[in-house]
């Protein structure tokens, strides 16, 4: 037995019983795994080339507003070269047996898995989203999409699009900045599996992971010209969409640009898929599994800083539990850690750009001006970079701008309902129709509601779930066409 004086034992026992809150201490992922070049060219015909006009632009780390590197701005002539390369590569690629195309896609999937940490860090640096999300969601899902569509490449006859479906040819693909690598995978994997060749334009503010993907395609020894990546701004995108050598266009981005693209292509009758904005409703009934619903509301709107087209940006909560839900929601919002996206314990990262931050601030100001009640987390925000603290609006009327317009930021608008009919009516009171959530332990009612919601995706007791095997896409002004699953093949197959 110990002979130590008891006073010391007591003192030691007492000392540890006052830890206070568990602050995690910084746990930043090392950025050293990523080595950036000073400048990046365009990936055309299997190698990186300087742009014709030698123009370039900076891409920033939104968490610091410091430049990361310079990226080429593709001109019309560069887009032309990329489309030509894709055209040259198209016949051989389409003629390759599906099983051989599959092997390339399997390789790409495996290399993404092998280089997952590097890709996660790179994406976080360029986009501002937390490393927890890039590591656990963006990168694994990107690998999963290539793996899934690899499996379709030699099974197209069983996909329900005829016994011998053919590729479209050369597809022009434009992707947004909110899930840069994942959106590249969503676009490229089905297009390649079905035998198309691609010209991909990543978003202006987040080109780096697509360029890293080009390196991965090299490692996979994908034939030159099968995938071409042109960086640039809206003008580059317009050049791509308008190019006569393109056989199909796939666009993910804002509803406004989607409208312009459809108008531009109207005369040509070119196949088009559009995945656009949304104003998703998360409907919480009074028999919801409450703790999980709170997490679902949080995930629905604060995942990826709310930069999610299908974000659950409107919360529709049954009046009888509204106070309870809001009390719990505020408590949970206060817990969110906003800050260094490379920190493994960060929940909410940086807003992707100054322009996006300005848009969020403008709509939040409108919400306050129109009379909604604002609750914003008191969390500290870093001094440099672009940041917006998690915000919840109550007393929101369906006519308010914050109830109708896509904010694309960490801002939730809360409304209440009394009956299932009213919930459906309010959820459908939008020109969008991308996604909704329904929270209830009563399956029968959930399915009843799901049948009446005008939305391309309905999650029940979940939100923001994605899977390579599941189709995703909108109705109404959220666009048309599906990505993911068997349905995702259709856009890339001619009948």
């Amino acid at each position: 037995m110990s002979s130590e004086p008891n006073g010391q034992e007591l003192a030691r026992a007492g000392r540890v019983s006052r830890l206070g809150a568990l602050e995690y201490a910084p746990a930043p992922e090392s950025a050293a795994i990523v080595s950036l070049a000073d400048a990046y060219g365009l990936y055309i015909d299997g190698h990186f080339t300087d742009p014709e006009r030698h123009e370039s632009f900076s891409t920033l780390n939104p968490a610091t507003a410091a430049p990361l590197t310079r990226v080429a701005r593709a001109s019309a002539a560069d887009v032309d070269a990329a489309v030509e390369a894709a055209r040259r590569a198209a016949p051989a690629w389409a003629a390759l047996p599906g099983a051989e195309r599959a092997k390339y896609l399997f390789r790409i999937s495996r290399i993404i898995q092998e280089r997952q940490r590097e890709l996660a860090v790179l994406e976080t640096l360029d986009n501002g989203k937390p490393i927890r999300e890039t590591r656990d969601i963006d990168v694994p899902l990107a690998a999963g999409h290539f793996f899934y569509y690899a499996g379709w490449a030699d099974k197209l006859a069983f996909a329900g699009f005829g016994s011998d479906p053919r590729p479209r040819g050369v597809v022009g693909q434009i992707i947004p900045w909110n899930f840069p690598l994942l959106m590249a995978a969503w676009k490229l994997a089905p297009a390649l599996a079905t035998g198309n060749t691609c010209v991909l334009k990543p978003a202006e503010t987040t080109p780096l992971s697509a360029l890293a993907l080009a390196d991965i395609l090299e490692q996979a020894e994908l034939p030159p010209g099968v995938v071409n990546i042109v960086t640039g701004d809206g003008a580059t995108g317009a050049d791509l969409v308008g190019h006569p050598g393109i056989d199909k266009v796939a666009f993910t981005g804002s509803t406004e640009v989607g409208r312009q693209i459809q108008r531009r292509l109207a005369a040509r009758g070119l196949p088009l898929t559009l995945e656009l904005g949304g104003k998703g409703a998360n409907i919480v009934f009074d028999d919801a599994p409450l703790d999980e619903a709170i997490e679902g509301i949080i995930d629905g709107i604060f995942f990826n800083q709310g930069h999610v087209c299908c974000a659950g940006s409107r919360l529709l909560v049954h009046e009888g539990i509204a106070d309870e839900v809001l009390r719990r929601l505020r408590r949970r919002v206060d817990q969110l850690r906003v800050g260094d996206p490379l920190d493994k314990n960060t929940d909410v990262g940086a807003i992707n750009s100054a322009a996006q931050l300005a848009r969020i601030e403008e709509l939040v100001a409108a919400g306050e001006a129109e009379g909604a009640t604002r609750y914003t987390s008191a969390c500290p925000l870093p001094a440099a970079g672009y940041w917006f603290a998690p915000t919840v609006f109550t007393d929101v009327a369906p006519a308010h701008r914050i109830a109708r317009e896509e904010i694309f930021g960490p801002v939730l608008s809360v409304m209440t309902f009394r009956t299932p009919e009213e919930a459906v009516a309010k959820a459908n009171d939008t020109t969008y129709g991308l996604a909704c959530g329904v929270w209830s332990e009563k399956g029968s009612r959930t399915l009843w509601v799901a049948q009446r919601l005008r939305a391309g995706v309905v999650w029940a007791n979940a939100y923001n779930r994605f899977d390579p095997a599941s189709p995703f896409g909108g109705v109404r002004e959220s666009g048309f066409g599906r990505e993911g699953g068997r349905h995702g093949l259709e856009a890339y197959l001619g009948v």
Partner: protein
């Protein structure tokens, strides 16, 4: 984080029907959601200074346990020495919270812990199965109390709970609580046998309404013991109970927790779910034996910067 109301109180349960109504009104638990939430929290990790303090805290939360047929006074004496001074080479290491033994060894433990802050806990009520009549269970408790136990770890009648005899489970806890007198009562739900998260939530509330000072996951004697989602559900229960009644009930996670990494994950779960009020030995415990060894090794590594040799920590 939790707002504990000052003037609310625990509702009086007058009948099984009323108890049933209270429990039925609890929100359901979505198994997919609760598993996902627990997994997400498992990716959080305290670092550096916080980790060092968290390891000390985890050590101070350990109910150092031996519940074997082969237990002897000599073994318990060795355990007591380790409980008082877990790291023989480092006097700054805190003692554990309690020693947990069968009732017949309480007196031995009491004697070896005299004057120390380490408490003596005893399992009782026909641990681990709980298959005995109420008088036998109460006698078990009385024996442990008489021998000097500060804390009683009772098991609920899972058979009664699963077959819907909630009143019986409730009454037993009330009776044991009364027999405990000033001793703290930990109510073991044996969540591995309750199986569903809905059952875990209801049993947690039932135990708290009946007067539990702690709700505890497991005996450690069935296949499934403490798991992160079960801990999450129980932590939500104590949080909600405190908010609605003002009573702070502790949580004891027991069975199968062997590594410091797991223990720290549970601290994260507790901190994020129930709040900092639960980050102390008064409200959070680990029922374990081998866990202490790993905590001490990690503590040592944290200080020296190198991975520690197992032999730096004494055997029991």
């Amino acid at each position: 984080m939790v707002e504990i109301p000052s003037r609310s109180r625990v509702p009086q349960v007058g009948s099984e029907a009323q108890l049933r109504t209270v429990l039925a009104a609890l929100s359901g638990v979505d198994a997919v959601g609760v598993t996902a939430r627990a997994a997400k929290l498992a990716t959080r990790s305290p670092k550096r200074e916080t980790k060092a303090r968290a390891l000390d805290l985890a050590i101070a939360m350990v109910d150092l346990t031996t519940l074997e047929g082969a237990d002897t006074p000599g073994h318990v004496a060795a355990l007591c020495a380790k409980a008082r001074r877990p790291d023989a080479e480092d006097a700054t290491c805190p003692p554990v919270a309690a020693i947990c033994v069968y009732p017949d060894l309480v007196a031995t433990a009491r004697a070896h812990l005299a004057g120390s802050p380490v408490r003596v806990a005893s399992v009782a009520t026909a641990f681990p199965a709980g298959r005995a009549s109420l008088p036998v269970k109460l006698a078990d408790v009385a024996e442990a109390r008489a021998a000097g136990a500060d804390e009683i770890d009772m098991v609920i009648d899972r058979g009664a709970f699963l077959s819907g005899r909630l009143g019986q489970v409730f009454e037993e806890i009330v009776a044991v609580k009364e027999a405990c007198g000033s001793a703290h009562l930990k109510v073991i739900l044996e969540t591995g046998e309750l199986v569903t998260y809905d059952n875990v939530r209801r049993a947690s509330w039932l135990a708290m309404l009946a007067g539990a000072d702690f709700i505890k996951t497991s005996t450690g004697k069935v296949a499934v013991s403490a798991t992160p989602p079960v801990a999450l559900v129980m932590l939500e229960a104590v949080r909600d109970f405190a908010e609605s009644t003002g009573q702070v009930v502790g949580v004891k996670l027991a069975g199968g927790i062997r590594s410091a990494k797991e223990a720290l994950r549970y601290l994260v779960l507790a901190s994020e779910t129930a709040g900092s009020a639960w980050l102390e030995p008064r409200t959070l415990r680990f029922g374990a034996s081998s866990l202490l060894t790993d905590l001490l090794l990690q503590r040592r590594s944290q200080r020296t910067g190198v991975y520690a040799r197992r032999e730096h920590v004494s055997v029991e």
